[in-house]
């Protein structure tokens, strides 16, 4: 299996943001998640011999609410209710989860919760990664095959089993956030390419919210010890 290249994710994200911006201007309203995901797909698929990148695209638009798409190596597009992914050298893990909550009126509002940026760049849990500036669209559009959960990247292998057991349909925003943080911290425990901090991004009808969890606030796992103060 090929290793995912962080630089490829960055350049792809740059291109997609550029075209998405143009599209938004021409369209006169925020672009849809499907469109963003399709842009990623086009780029990934056409240049598949040169790129080694898998992206998660998550966002919210007024037509279909929250959606998550996964675009792994090769340019397949799959829509999912949650997904996990990890970029390569930067050691980041991205987890996107979609929450379905039935409203009394019967209107389904989908919230996308995940450690991802709008163009589906991986979220940073690794070291030395500055948060990326995003373009100004309020809604996120990214296209991938629609799945409930999407995982990508190097630490993601450790999370498949975890999500198989822990993900449930219909979680609240807070439940989802807790789950995502737990999952990333588990991956950090086992993936050498991940560590440091956990950043999350929640995208829903209200907009985009970011949270930060420092390394020492994360739960400890097997054979990890409570840190103690330096003697000095």
């Amino acid at each position: 299996m090929f290793y995912l290249q962080a630089a490829d994710s960055q350049i792809l994200s740059d291109y997609v943001r550029y075209f998405l911006n143009q599209h938004t201007i021409q369209l006169g309203q925020p672009a849809t998640v499907k469109v963003a995901a399709n842009l990623v797909r086009l780029f990934s698929y056409q240049n598949k011999n040169m790129l080694q990148t898998g992206l998660i695209i998550g966002g919210w638009d007024k037509y279909e609410g929250g959606q998550i798409y996964s675009v792994p190596l090769g340019g397949t597009v799959l829509k999912q209710p949650f997904t996990i992914g990890v970029t390569g050298l930067g050691g980041e893990i991205a987890i996107g989860m979609m929450l379905l909550r039935a409203r009394p009126s019967g209107f389904r509002r989908l919230q996308m919760h995940g450690a991802q940026e709008r163009e589906g760049r991986k979220q940073t849990t690794g070291r030395n990664r500055k948060p990326k500036k995003l373009s100004h669209t309020n809604e996120i559009n990214q296209l991938c095959d629609k799945e409930d959960k999407v995982k990508e990247g190097s630490g993601s292998s450790y999370l498949y089993g975890f999500f198989d057991q822990a993900w449930k349909d219909g979680m609240s925003k807070d439940e989802a956030e807790k789950l995502v943080v737990k999952a990333v911290s588990l991956a950090i425990a086992r993936d050498g390419a991940s560590g440091g901090v956990v950043r999350t991004v929640t995208i829903n009808a209200e907009g985009v919210t970011r949270n930060f969890y420092s390394g020492d606030s994360l739960p400890l796992w097997h054979e990890e010890l409570e840190p103690r103060k330096l003697l000095a």
Binding site: R41, Q46, L73, V77, L78
Partner: protein, 246 residues
């Protein structure tokens, strides 16, 4: 930054200064066997819903059988992104066909031929679509079932399979297929084959869709799973005659 430069086909003008590719690439997300057989009223296709990523069973909700126009079903194994691309080509084909508005529509024979040409021409450019396709359908009472491989190999038969299915399922089909099987008989045979593949193919998952197409129309079933049997005596104490093994 030109749209065309960035999003053109891989061999025409990729981003960057490289010539592009003289590539025969590796597949990434792959589907495993697709099975097809003719029965009394039409054609049945079956496939599981797995998208493997190497040895990881990564995606478990991939629809690998799709309908094309009114008369055809297409099942694919191999690289899923290439299958999605093929669906786009066929979309275009069908739309153009519909625009003629001449009460004529592309049938499975035509789709099969089109796909053969596409696959073979890509193969000639050393840039194949990494798929094995099963094309099945009924038009004007004529049942049709064919296969196209990634190098352009193509043929029709009463029963076809891709990948592992060729080795595990087709012997069963050769033994038990007969003309004018009923729907139940056909499904029984297919399920038998699917079960064998589930036991023996590491990329197979226990989540299947069976699609049928007749003169009246087509249906793709909801996903379902099969019961497996593991109660063999030999499995209870596997190292009985061979201590140290497993």
């Amino acid at each position: 930054m030109e749209w065309a430069t960035v999003f053109s086909g891989s061999n025409e003008g990729s981003v960057g200064t490289e010539r592009g590719s003289e590539r025969t690439l590796n597949p990434y997300v792959t589907g495993t066997s697709v099975l097809g057989l003719k029965y009394k009223d039409g054609v049945i296709l079956a496939a599981d819903m797995g998208g493997s990523y190497g040895s990881t069973l990564r995606y478990k909700n991939v629809e690998r059988i799709k309908s094309i126009g009114k008369h055809t079903l297409l099942g694919a194994s191999g690289e899923v992104s290439d299958f999605q691309e093929i669906l786009r080509y066929l979309d275009e084909l069908i739309i153009y066909d519909n625009m003629w508005d001449d009460e004529n529509s592309l049938g499975p024979k035509e789709v099969h031929n089109y796909l053969t040409r596409v696959m073979y021409n890509r193969r000639n450019k050393f840039d194949p679509l990494f798929n094995s396709l099963v094309v099945g359908g009924v038009k004007n009472g004529q049942k049709y079932l064919g296969m196209v491989g990634m190098i352009g190999t193509h043929y029709e038969d009463n029963h076809v399979a891709t990948g592992f299915g060729n080795h595990l399922a087709r012997p069963l089909m050769r033994a038990e297929w007969h003309e004018d099987m009923s729907f139940e008989e056909a499904v029984k045979l297919l399920e038998k084959c699917l079960l064998v593949l589930l036991y023996r193919d590491r990329s197979a998952i226990n989540k299947f869709q069976i699609a049928k197409i007749t003169e009246e129309g087509m249906t793709i079933s909801e996903p379902y799973a099969l019961k497996t049997f593991w109660g063999f005596l030999a499995f209870q104490n596997p190292t009985k005659g061979a201590e140290g093994s497993w």
